[in-house]
């Protein structure tokens, strides 16, 4: 555990010193700034506040706000971030990290788990930072603390973890950032969409349902938001555990060629 913790801390340093992080944070800062600057301090009679786009926002239950958060979280956290940091994961399967960490009292499992934990920790820090900044801003504007923003964001976190693990698994499995990116994009835009197909074929429905528990339920995110919030969390969690275990198993048999 000491080794895993140490590797996670080391890798977190590596993430924070990465140039990709600066670009990524800049994009997030711009989006959050646009969003926050769009919020007007003008309170409507029934307690709603209004954005410059004319959407009414109240306690983060409005469709507008959800779409906006989805845009930030899904596009940036699920697509741009994993792709931007893919080379960090790629380093894991080249000798660079093996030279530094392995051959000593550190195992391959320690190295992979430590590195994934570093990324999970980073996601947590980033998500909570955005939530904190937004909450503070709303508190200043409206005078109320919006707890629902936190609970809304929490549902995404496991999905980020699971999606990032899927990207890592693709890279570890294919030894290539290019092929892994292609597979990841295909998954996000096409395969994950299958999970929400309404079909009358019971067998197919069961198969898709099973897979939706094993792979990140990206396409269901917005749909299930409205219906049952717990489904996403459970599916995200099961897929995270499944992908995490598969990644570790594959990585334990990995060869460091270069």
């Amino acid at each position: 555990m000491k080794a895993i913790y140490g590797i996670a801390v080391n890798q977190l340093y590596v993430i924070f010193s990465s140039k990709y992080l600066r670009y990524f944070l800049f994009v997030i800062a711009v989006l959050v700034f646009i969003f926050l600057s769009g919020i007007s301090s003008k309170n409507l009679e029934n307690g709603f506040i209004i954005s410059i786009w004319g959407n009414e926002i109240h306690n983060f239950d409005s469709i507008f706000l959800k779409i906006y958060l989805s845009l930030i979280y899904l596009v940036l956290f699920l697509i741009i971030f994993p792709l931007g940091f893919a080379h960090h994961i790629y380093n894991l399967i080249t000798t660079d990290y093996a030279n530094i960490y392995l051959s000593r009292s550190i195992s391959r499992s320690d190295l992979l788990i430590g590195t994934l934990f570093a990324f999970y920790k980073f996601y947590l820090i980033l998500t909570f930072s955005i939530v904190f900044i937004t909450t503070i801003y709303f508190f200043i504007i409206t005078g109320t603390v919006i707890v629902s923003l936190l609970t809304t964001s929490l549902q995404f976190i496991l999905l980020f973890f699971s999606s990032f693990t899927l990207m890592s698994l693709f890279i570890i499995g294919t030894n290539s950032i290019g092929i892994a990116t292609l597979l990841y994009v295909i998954y996000i835009f096409f395969i994950s969409g299958l999970f929400v197909i309404k079909t009358s074929n019971i067998f197919l429905l069961n198969v898709l349902n099973l897979f939706s528990f094993l792979l990140p339920p990206i396409s269901q995110t917005y749909e299930n938001f409205e219906a049952d919030k717990t489904i996403n969390v459970i599916k995200s969690l099961t897929s995270l555990i499944f992908l995490f275990c598969i990644s570790v198993l594959i990585y334990r048999r990995k060869e460091f060629y270069k």
């Binding site: 340093y13 590596v14 660079d96 030279n99 530094i100």
Partner: protein, 306 residues
């Protein structure tokens, strides 16, 4: 499990890489045994399989066939790898930190956190002339990275050091520092597995050596075989041939009926042989020095196995 007295045993190891649809045999039927406290050098041309063998010892890659034992434990066993220090040919350090922080952090990860360990780190850095360098290690020059690799490999007090071209690309001063560190490690009963192109360095360090070519060990020898100050004596004999046949076989005489050649390993043997030849009234035609260097052995076996 095979139990033996060797700290490293490589048993019938074969390694085949798959490159697209081609199979490339990097190592074929490798058998090596290294004793505790020994410096074993593996020399060979580029692409002969030296780094592949080191990676197999580190368990970075897996053998297609055969087994490797370190202290009688299979290399798959995590315990066996705890005693390995490794200096790679080239390493990137993606950490934006100075050398002391890096080594302290890595000590902690490897479970070596103590005041004495901190003192050990500082001593190591002083020896390797890295103590006063406060730059980020990701900006280090090649030589500094190499010295850092040496420091890092010694951090966990390993029993075995695996060195892949440890002085490649270094200036003579840096090279000298690293050689002295390796010698010191050996004096403390450490075992060294060394891969190097620099044969003068191998001559200075190794107890035994092996020449590898196209994935096969073509020769194994000891340090006594090189740096010998021998002589070749050419003589002419007009007497009976049986006289020559009675000479000690250690002279390795080659005789064609009149002219012959004898080999001696030092000055004492030379004076004995000359006294013997003059005793039998055999004419000494020429005395040539016959120094054997590691390079001459290396070139000879590579040519023979081309």
């Amino acid at each position: 499990m095979v139990k033996n007295n060797f700290i490293v045993s490589v048993e019938s190891v074969k390694k085949v890489y798959k490159n697209n649809n081609n199979l490339i045999t990097a190592l074929d039927d490798i058998n090596l045994r290294i004793k505790k406290g020994e410096v074993f050098a593996l020399i060979g041309p580029n692409g002969s399989g030296k780094t592949s063998l080191i990676k197999l010892l580190l368990n970075f890659i897996y053998p297609t066939r055969g087994t490797i034992f370190i202290e009688n434990n299979s290399v798959y066993n995590r315990v066996s790898r705890k005693n390995l220090g490794y200096v790679p040919e080239e390493t990137k350090y993606p950490f934006n930190t100075n050398v002391i922080s890096f080594l302290k952090r890595m000590s902690k990860i490897n479970g070596f956190e103590s005041i004495s360990q901190n003192k050990y780190i500082l001593d190591l850095l002083k020896k390797l002339n890295l103590y006063e360098n406060q730059n980020s290690i990701c900006n280090f020059s090649k030589g500094m990275k190499k010295r850092l690799s040496i420091a890092y490999s010694l951090l966990i007090n390993p029993k075995i050091l695996l060195l892949d071209e440890p002085t490649d690309g270094l200036d003579p001063v840096e090279r000298k520092v690293i050689i002295s560190i390796i010698k010191e490690f050996k004096e403390n009963n450490g075992t060294v597995f060394l891969c190097s192109h620099i044969l003068t360095e191998v001559e200075q360090l190794c107890d035994r050596f092996a020449i590898i070519q196209k994935g096969r060990i073509i020769y194994e020898g000891r340090k006594e075989e090189f740096n010998t100050k021998g002589f070749i004596v050419t003589f002419i004999n007009y007497n009976s041939e049986t006289l020559i046949n009675n000479f000690d076989p250690k002279y390795q005489i080659q005789y064609d009926g009149i002219e012959g050649k004898a080999e001696v390993t030092d000055e004492n043997e030379l004076s004995t042989l000359i006294a013997l030849l003059s005793h039998y009234k055999i004419v000494v035609k020429e005395i040539k020095s016959n120094n054997v260097s590691l390079e001459s052995i290396y070139v000879k076996y590579l040519k023979e196995n081309k």
